[in-house]
């Protein structure tokens, strides 16, 4: 991007190209501030971490496929299990949704040419990459975090974790928080300040509302994690006493601060998924989202209530009953905005003319898995049930339905949906639909038996188990499921990789989407929009002709004008297809044949039939204004 004056005598797009184009080649990628290139950097980096986290998941499942397996040592299992959790949450889902989808799509959806703070945006990415490599450096040195993703004290203290493992955890996550906070600030200011003229809050796409809710959650949730991690490092490195009871510390303080971050975190994971769902559903249902303002408010409300429910992760820690009841009630409350959204999605599909292409299939899978995970979630809000199932595989089943089912399925659907926009080419529809079914079946087979095995008493985070508890066959099924799931994911990425080079050219708007990103070319030029659009509706691509022409899209309509001057006079409701003209024509033929052959009575009958036909013709009048 150079601040040169536009050369005179060139077309507008040529001038914009010269102004906005970045350096070519590797140096261009290293110095880029273009939100789309930063989005792609985030995309490929998080995808690499997703691969690493996936391999860790397969290692875990292979170790747990049968009793007394020795694929991983107990120490290695702890590290792999911890890194699987940290990777999927901090290095895959959050940066994939905010960094990749948010960065790439949000400026396009609001009609801007970049994020509000482009260099801060680039910094976020490099910090995120650094933090991720830092965490994986620990793993490669054999000093990876090994205390579980929530790393409870006293397991995280020097006494029980004398190596650098928990230090990699604490410092790596502080690193990561800084990057996420910078992205969140950028997304908020961009959606507050850089919207195209005419895009008032009520015309902002629901995806942007979701990104706004996520960003505010990050801004207010991450400090709790940072404080917690700083306390931990001060205790580990300098001998402070925040968590050890012997010196007046409080071991539950770790958990309070962690879950004060950790529960909003759950909604940070799920809200972008909701935003992606509200983008895909209207396009394929060919209908605007119903209850648009309610859905927007529900997205914000989910984020808000998310801050009042952290105690439900601590029902088994001996908090007072009144505290537990408060958190149980607050947890029940989250159901309301979530359900508003689920019904809005379902009714939008139901009232539209849905076309079940791959992106919508993934959203369908998302809704199904979200409902299952949500139902087990409501069960945890019941304190006695939670106390009975705490730290069993039932919990693991629940949060994998939410995190993999509800958060990752829309990400996969979104990859297909925006693939033509980003690459300019279409993916293979048939393979995409097949990969959905394989992934869905794999997900159910992997995670559903975990409910049962959890109720049978299998606890979380164990590296192996003995046979004879009735767990063996379920665990084997889960492991088979994990490999089926991997196959499904490989099919998806093979499809996208092949289509990137060989796919059919997509054109700017292959799905006829409603939001602004579909109004520019695929892939978008460096300046996004040659002319900044003026927005008059939440679906500007569908409504964009309202202002300067006559859309006449409420029925079979055309215009009538005044005779001499051609001024607009009225809307004419034109008739639709009809069988009466051909019937009347046929009757008339018979009538004349009868006249010819002097069968006057039959001719009279057919004259009557013709009269009836004319009556039937005129029964349906055009609708009134």
């Amino acid at each position: 991007m150079t601040a040169v004056a536009p050369p005179v005598g060139r077309s507008r797009t040529e001038r914009l190209d010269l102004i906005w184009e970045e350096r070519p080649g590797l140096l261009g990628w290293l110095t880029t501030v273009d939100h789309k290139r930063i989005g792609l950097l985030y995309f490929f980096t998080t995808l690499a971490f997703f691969g690493a986290g996936g391999i860790e998941a397969l290692l875990i499942r292979t170790q747990l496929a049968g009793p007394n397996a020795t694929v991983l040592s107990p120490e290695a299992f702890n590290e792999v299990m911890t890194m699987h959790g940290i990777t999927m949450i901090f290095l895959f889902i959050i940066p994939m949704t905010t960094g990749a989808f948010g960065n790439y799509l949000l400026p396009l959806m609001i009609g801007a040419r970049d994020m509000a703070f482009p260099r801060l945006n680039a910094l976020s990415f490099w910090l995120f990459l650094g933090g991720g490599l830092f965490l994986y450096g620990g793993l490669l040195l054999g000093k990876g975090p090994n205390c579980g993703w929530f790393c409870y004290t006293p397991l995280n203290t020097r006494t029980y974790d004398p190596g650098l493992n928990a230090d990699f955890y604490a410092l790596g996550l502080i690193f990561n928080s800084v990057a996420s906070t910078a992205t969140a600030i950028n997304l908020i200011v961009t959606s507050f300040k850089l919207r195209a003229p005419g895009m008032s809050f009520n015309r902002m796409p629901l995806f942007v509302f979701a990104m706004l809710a996520v960003s505010f959650s990050l801004v207010f949730a991450l400090p709790a994690l940072t404080t917690d991690l700083v306390f931990l490092e001060l205790q580990r490195k300098l001998g402070f006493h925040f968590f050890d009871v012997a010196h007046g510390g409080d071991s539950l303080l770790w958990q309070h601060l962690f879950w004060l971050f950790g529960h909003p975190e759950v909604y940070i994971i799920i809200l972008p998924a909701m935003g992606i769902a509200t983008s895909i559903i209207p396009t394929f249902a060919k209908r605007k989202m119903i209850a648009f303002p309610l859905v927007a408010l529900a997205e914000l409300l989910v984020a808000f209530i998310g801050f009042g429910v952290w105690g439900h992760h601590m029902f088994a820690t001996g908090l007072s009953v009144s505290t537990l009841v408060f958190f149980a009630a607050a947890s029940m409350m989250v159901v309301i905005p979530s359900t508003i959204q689920i019904y809005a999605w379902l009714f939008t599909v139901n009232l539209g003319r849905p076309e079940f292409r791959a992106p919508l299939l993934f959203i369908g899978g998302f809704i199904a898995l979200f409902v299952i995970g949500g139902l087990s979630g409501i069960m945890f809000a019941a304190i006695p049930f939670d106390q009975a199932t705490t730290d069993t595989y039932f919990v693991v089943a629940h949060f994998h339905f939410i995190i993999f089912g509800a958060a990752v399925f829309p990400i996969l659907g979104g990859m297909f949906y925006w693939f033509p926009k980003v690459t300019g080419r279409m993916y293979n529809e048939r393979l995409a639909q097949a990969s959905f079914w394989v992934t869905f079946a794999g997900t159910m087979l992997t995670f559903f038996p975990m409910h049962i095995v959890g109720l049978l008493g299998m606890t979380r985070r164990i590296y192996t188990y003995h046979s004879g508890f009735g767990w063996d066959s379920y665990n084997l099924a889960e492991t088979i499921g994990a490999y089926v799931l991997t196959l499904g994911l490989l099919m998806i990425f093979a499809n996208l990789l092949w289509s990137r080079f060989r796919g059919v050219l997509a054109g700017p708007d292959p799905f006829y989407g409603g939001t602004l990103e579909w109004t520019t070319t695929s892939p978008p030029p460096p300046y996004n929009f040659a002319v900044i659009p003026t927005v008059t509706s939440p679906y500007p691509n569908w409504d964009r002709d309202d202002s300067d022409g006559l859309p006449l899209d409420h029925g079979h309509e055309t215009q009538a004008t005044t005779v001499r001057d051609g001024y607009f006079d009225e809307v004419l409701h034109m008739p639709s297809e009809s069988g009466w003209p051909i019937v009347l024509g046929a009757v008339a033929v018979v009538f004349f044949v009868m006249l010819l052959t002097t069968h006057y009575i039959v001719a009279g009958i057919f004259a009557a039939v013709a009269a009836l036909t004319v009556i039937a013709w005129n029964v349906h009048e055009p609708p009134q204004e």
Partner: protein, 192 residues
Amino acid sequence: MSSVPYVQRSAKPNGWWGMVIFVATEATLFATLIGSYYDLRFRTPHWPPPGVPDPKVAVPLILLAVLVSSSIPVQLASRSARAGRTVPTQLALLVALILQSGYLAMQIHLFVDDLHKFSPQGSAYGSIYFTMVGAHHAHVFVGILLELWFFLRLFGGNTVYRAVGIHATAFYWHAVNVLAIAVTIVQLSPSL
């Protein structure tokens, strides 16, 4: 650089908004520190623990008054910068810098003095006391650096870009001063 003069913009500039959201996350950080302070306090029978003196009241309150009063020159600097008056901006920044640097110097002296009396390694009280107070001093230090930067930049004249920076820095300082009131009250609370 925008060709539209600063004063004619009807919404606040992006830089100011970025600072507001940043301050929101920093204020949350202090909220969690203060929350942790009381979490630890209400689990401990003796607060501060035996052998640790009660915090002094008078000197921190006087220092707090000095720091909070620096909001006035900071605001004056912000207004003059937006009006395009370079020298008055610099003078106001200089007054603020003197007040804030004096405050920070005194506070560092008190901090070291406290370290001689009790240590963060001795008890949870010491841990949270030094962490919270230290976090606040770090914010004051960052604010001083921001102001010093703009004070020096203004020798090259005022620009829209710099005026936005000073506007945002002024917001930061008002927020730090409000946090100072909260942190000081918490810090003194055992003696009140």
